[in-house]
Amino acid sequence: MVEPANTANIKPHPYPLLKDELDIVIPTIRNLDFLEMWRPFFQPYHLIIVQDGDPSKIIKVPEGFDYELYNRNDINRILGPKASCISFKDSACRCFGYMVSRKKYIFTIDDDCFVAQDPSGKPVNALEQHIKNILSPSTPHFFNTLYDPFREGADFVRGYPFSMREGVPTAVSHGLWLNIPDYDAPTQLVKPRERNTRYVDAVMTIPKGTLFPMCGMNLTFDRELIGPAMYFGLMGDGQPIGRYDDMWAGWCVKVICDHLGLGVKTGLPYIFHSKASNPFVNLKKEYKGIFWQEDIIPFFQNVSLPKDCTTVQKCYIELSKQVKAKLGEIDPYFNKLSDAMVTWIEAWDDLNPVGASGQVNGKV
């Protein structure tokens, strides 16, 4: 049995890393009570709350947090017709928060994720670990058997070429979850009682050319390096599919990171996932995805981006064309998705004109 941590007596760090360079994006439809538990770790940072569902509902943000909050009316007002690319009644709407942020880094977390304990009982400051992950290089070209060589107490093993030891910039830090595991509906139905109690004390880089199912519950990324690729797709209301938002983004992101020479890490930090969603509801949402992913995965595994795609946006637009050409045959949904991917980039560029941040993304 695992339990969430008690953070009542934790003193906040006097000099929180990246305090003015990182936004925390939280999608919510219920409430933000969970923030109380995260207060010692999150309070120094700016929050972007994306309120899904009924915009007339008032979502109360606990005292003392610096935040901006957007509901559906705000999204429609800010994006106009381009708001069509932002999902409704699905946590995929969180990617609107990525778009409006002005910071270099984003940490996103679900509102049912609490602070986990490490095996010694110490509360895990997930944000701090994500920051360590994202500020140290990744090693996608050769797998290090002692996992992240930049962690204290680890290093590159014998046989690891020295020319590869500098690594590449880390674009994504993908964290994990104790307690309720992120299973699909069929697995949830078969194993309703299974809980993830295994704390695997490792961070590692996902090798180049390897895809993975990215979970958006506990995720950090460098917005300047990869932001435009973090579109969470068309899900929820009016869409034939749900619970594929983060995975879709993850596949696009990984293909583009591999192309641009950026790294994706997975492993620590853990959060404590408290709520199991209804597996029957999930099955209805996921059901088409379970069939479609059999075609989607080979599509991403075989995607090739031309050399002249040197920015994330160019890669993403190219990807959207290939989605239409190759996945459009499976279901008209993919034509819609492809168009939405283009709309997303247009909206991103509107809100993030080049020169405003001084940075052009892509190969660093």
Binding site: T145, D155, R158, Q293
Partner: protein
């Protein structure tokens, strides 16, 4: 592909003896090793008699056996750490577990003694999943499963042909790294096994491995010998080379390689700075080795490990031979090994016994 049942009598534990007194080594491993047949191969360069405690089911091979079986001109191939490969050659079992003689059982994060043999066998008995990364690591472990988004058609996995374990205390660093951090010891017990993804490569450490001899035996050979190869792990590259060969074979034939658990405890030994004083070409050679293996592709016509090795040896000679004569010798050694494997390794009777 479902879980395979591996019986004790399908396993050989092969130990390369680089030190003569194996008493404490064998006694520390007794609770783990006692169930299995052991093959102990004495380093042909070792002069002293081996001291082995009683009670084990084992066969011991020394220089005279090696000379008799492979011919004295070839016995050079089996000196130092490479002596264990003679054990792989003469074994008649389907699975081999091999651990360096300076390692003892580790304790896990709860203080329980790690049965490295049982964990290796479990790794080999359960499928590997090289085509898509599972973020909860090995989905076949108790308490874990495939995560949301893992394609169902990939969930039956492939046969695991190689299990690479890790080391607590003295990690397998190269000499420069160990010299720079003389006090660093690996104390982090990472409770995970995972499949190394298809087309991803890693440096295989021979210190603590297990493999399906029938599937990949022909590819697991220390063809790349450093001129200054010595009796300390950071003076060798042989296992790194054979691990890369095995990965190419596995990727081509649709087999899996796992890494992670089990851990062994590796004793402090040797002086990394002393090693640095010798001329050490391994570091330079890895710069060529890794890109080569990452780009090598096997033809569709290669359907066995042997055929893959023949193809690889040709490419090594063509592409790396001009860079360093060590690679030409490596290519030749791979072919020699295949001949030995055919003559000795795949016959049904145990030679010389």
């Amino acid at each position: 592909m479902s879980e395979v049942n591996i019986m004790d009598n399908e396993v050989d534990i092969v130990i390369g003896a680089l030190q003569s007194d194996l008493t404490s080594f064998m006694n520390e491993w007794r609770p783990v090793f006692i169930r299995y047949h052991l093959i102990i191969v004495k380093d042909p360069d070792l002069k002293e008699e081996l001291q082995i405690p009683e009670g084990f089911n084992l066969d011991v091979y020394s220089k005279s056996d090696i000379d008799r079986v492979v011919g004295s001109s070839k016995s050079i191939l089996f000196s130092g750490f490479s002596c264990r490969y003679f054990g792989y050659l003469v074994s008649r079992k389907k699975y081999i577990i091999s651990i360096d003689d300076d390692c003892v059982p580790a304790r896990d994060d709860k203080g329980i003694l790690v049965d490295a043999a049982a964990e290796h066998i479990s790794n080999l008995a359960t499928p590997a999943t090289p085509y898509f990364f599972n973020t909860l690591y090995d989905p076949y472990r108790e308490g874990a499963d495939f995560v949301r988004g893992y394609p169902f058609s990939l969930r039956s996995g492939v046969t695991c042909a190689l299990s690479c374990g890790l080391w607590l205390n003295l990690a397998d660093f190269d000499a420069p790294t160990q010299a720079l951090k003389p006090g660093q010891r690996n104390s982090r017990y990472v409770d995970a096994v995972m499949t190394v993804p298809a087309r991803a490569f890693m440096p295989m450490s021979g210190i603590n491995i297990a493999f399906d001899r029938e599937a990949v035996g022909p590819a697991l050979f220390p063809a790349l010998r450093l001129a200054g190869e010595g009796k300390l792990r950071w003076e060798t590259m042989e296992d790194i080379w054979s691990g890369m060969c095995v990965k190419v074979v596995c990727d081509h034939l649709g087999l899996g390689v796992k890494t992670g658990l089990p851990y062994v405890w590796r004793k402090d030994r040797g002086n990394a700075v002393e090693t640095l004083k010798k001329e050490w070409e391994g570091v330079k050679q890895m710069e060529e080795v890794v890109p080569f293996f990452q780009s090598v592709r096997m033809p569709q016509t290669a359907t066995t490990a042997e055929q893959c090795v023949v193809e690889m040896a040709t490419r090594v000679k063509e592409q790396l031979g001009s860079v360093d004569t060590g690679f030409t010798r490596a290519a030749e050694a791979m072919i020699e090994w295949l001949k030995l494997w055919k003559a000795v390794g795949s016959s049904s009777s145990v030679p010389g016994v």
